[in-house]
């Protein structure tokens, strides 16, 4: 679904040849955010449930458990390159946050904020350059993240998107 949402975002952002309509740019931002949101949710659900076609209903049901704010908090921590002590406690000393994980986490935090502004803040004005470069950025982080081997660091990041609230308050 995420690639359809990115195509939709590109179409919306380029719909008006001259001056882009704010409504189209706002919807483009929202579609771009949801492309990344659903990509990350699907990645984690595949990890937990499995990747087979017959497991799809289980992945879809589990996908409903993800919370935007929890994901933002987890990504905010990963984006800084170090995890708070309560989360990092017990991780192997060699644990590092790999570049593609930092990049996708940063992109998620940035886009979620812009999605809030696009959907709820009428005082915010969106620009085509920013929207189009964001769409490209999301394609790039998804590509990088997908190419990353299923290391423990990658699996832990994905698990944190679901479990962050419980982990961070221990």
């Amino acid at each position: 679904m995420y690639s359809d949402l990115l195509d939709q975002a590109k179409s919306l952002a380029t719909l008006d040849a001259k001056k882009p309509k704010q409504a189209n740019l706002r919807r483009a931002i929202s579609s771009t955010y949801y492309a990344l949101f659903h990509f990350l949710v699907e990645e984690e659900c595949r990890l937990i449930i499995g990747t087979q076609h017959g497991q799809l209903p289980y992945r879809q049901v589990l996908g409903r458990a993800f919370e935007h704010q929890t994901m933002k908090e987890a990504c905010g921590s990963f984006s800084g390159g170090t995890l708070k002590a309560a989360v990092a406690k017990g991780l192997p000393p060699q644990f590092t946050i790999l570049g593609p994980i930092k990049s996708i986490a940063r992109t998620f935090v940035d886009l979620q904020e812009k999605r809030h502004l696009a959907d709820y803040d009428r005082t915010e004005r969106f620009l085509r350059s920013d929207v189009l470069t964001l769409v490209e950025q999301v394609e790039s982080v998804i590509e990088e993240f997908s190419a990353l081997a299923a290391t423990n660091e990658k699996k832990f990041f994905l698990a944190c998107l679901l479990a962050w609230k419980s982990l961070a308050r221990r």
Binding site: K19, P20, K21, Q22, A23, Q69, K72, G76, S79, G80, G81, G99, K102, S103, R106, T107, V109, D110, Q112, E113, K114, H116, L117, R125, L127, R128, S129, D130, L132, T133, L134, E136, Q137, V138, E139, S140, V141, E143, E144
Partner: protein
């Protein structure tokens, strides 16, 4: 140096060593509070007018934004930078946009 002075120093185009492409003519920053009430920054990266946005790759955007984020972190600035790319000409507001 004030907190904002430290932030501006971290984002000084002369020392930031941004990738050559796309060409950037200015980096502007403001303090910001995000949707959840967390202290953050808004950063505007001003592209040169001759840049064709359709030709800027996602990798180039990512390299640029990561460089800005890392420069802030290197100087101990933990506020999240919400970064936007734009051309100065796009700032001219038109009444028929809505």
């Amino acid at each position: 140096m004030s907190a904002m002075g430290k932030i501006r120093a971290a984002l000084d185009l002369k020392t930031l060593e941004l990738p050559e492409k796309p060409r950037i003519v200015a980096v502007e920053v403001e303090e910001y509070v995000d949707w959840y009430g967390d202290d953050a920054l808004r950063v505007w990266v001003i592209l040169a007018e001759e840049e064709d946005v359709a030709q800027i790759s996602g990798k180039a955007v990512l390299a640029l934004k990561n460089k800005i984020h890392e420069s802030l972190l290197k100087d101990g600035i933990k506020a999240f930078p919400y970064i936007s790319l734009l051309k100065a000409s796009e700032r001219i507001v038109s009444v028929d946009e809505e």
